[in-house]
Symmetry: C2
Subunit: 186 residues, 2 copies
Amino acid sequence: MLRRGEVLRVIDPIGGQVSDMVAFIADAPGESLSNGRTFDYEETLRLTTGNRLWSNLSRPIVEIIEDSVGTHDFLLTPCSEATFRHFYPGRPVHRGCHGNLAEALAPHAIVPAAIPTAFNIFMNVPIGADGRIKVEPPKSKAGDFIRLRALEDLIVGLTACSAYDSCGGSFKPLHYAIEGASDAQR
Amino acid sequence: MLRRGEVLRVIDPIGGQVSDMVAFIADAPGESLSNGRTFDYEETLRLTTGNRLWSNLSRPIVEIIEDSVGTHDFLLTPCSEATFRHFYPGRPVHRGCHGNLAEALAPHAIVPAAIPTAFNIFMNVPIGADGRIKVEPPKSKAGDFIRLRALEDLIVGLTACSAYDSCGGSFKPLHYAIEGASDAQR
């Protein structure tokens, strides 16, 4: 639970890791983070300091207040058993970010099908002039971070990514911290 | 209801109109069209003949089998009262595509918050090198069409767009036809 006004700091301690983040409004079942509404209102696919992330019902729910990397993705969904089988045939299958998020969110009565496209922190997905996309290694280095202020009371799901392309399949760690509303003003 | 194997033809009879389309698997509550999963598996933002649209649970549910335009959008959400107020202050507010879809889908027990980012047929949203996006007039001319084959039994929501930027706020018509599975093989 991230209370309104609190700040979530997501840190890449080693460098080259990705964190999939989803968010649900605590008191509004069915209202959650929406890439489409965010693209509507922010008018860009490249979200960084000053941009807000919006819910599917047109509420701004998170504001990016500091960002030492500037490269994130909001196009792609969390990796899952199905995506491992599709993209990495013959390699070990992991439940992936989707499986991690599903387990963490189940106690909050959030079912797997309700997990939206994630805000993929530090994920590097360049877009070609022809619209083609590819997943490249993150630009984040050891100690890089992003700070996200909650604009509503939120249930946040956060996971370190296990997909091979996103982070080299290295199962690197990901750190986070929650700063109280008074600290967060600084 | 669009049965597996049937083909939905969406036609722009005058030119310059946009149609927001959403789809839900008929026998799988909560499973619906997902832009993120589609971008994952198709590896492009520019979807046209030969591309498939995927569900949030990694099933291909629609295949684009013919497309006389080639420019569509899958980034933005259906316009709504909130988007009219945000983008067009002082101009008349319409319930928009979201309101139209919500009314049409209610008898199928699909609530407004469950309406995903739509596949916006004929919508023209160029992406700048810096990630900025803007809504420009559609490239579709009178008689242009797209044909979409259902790969599962689907509940499809389809609406002509009423947003000012998408189609000049002209409330132009949009036509559609359903071709049976046998016709659709031709």
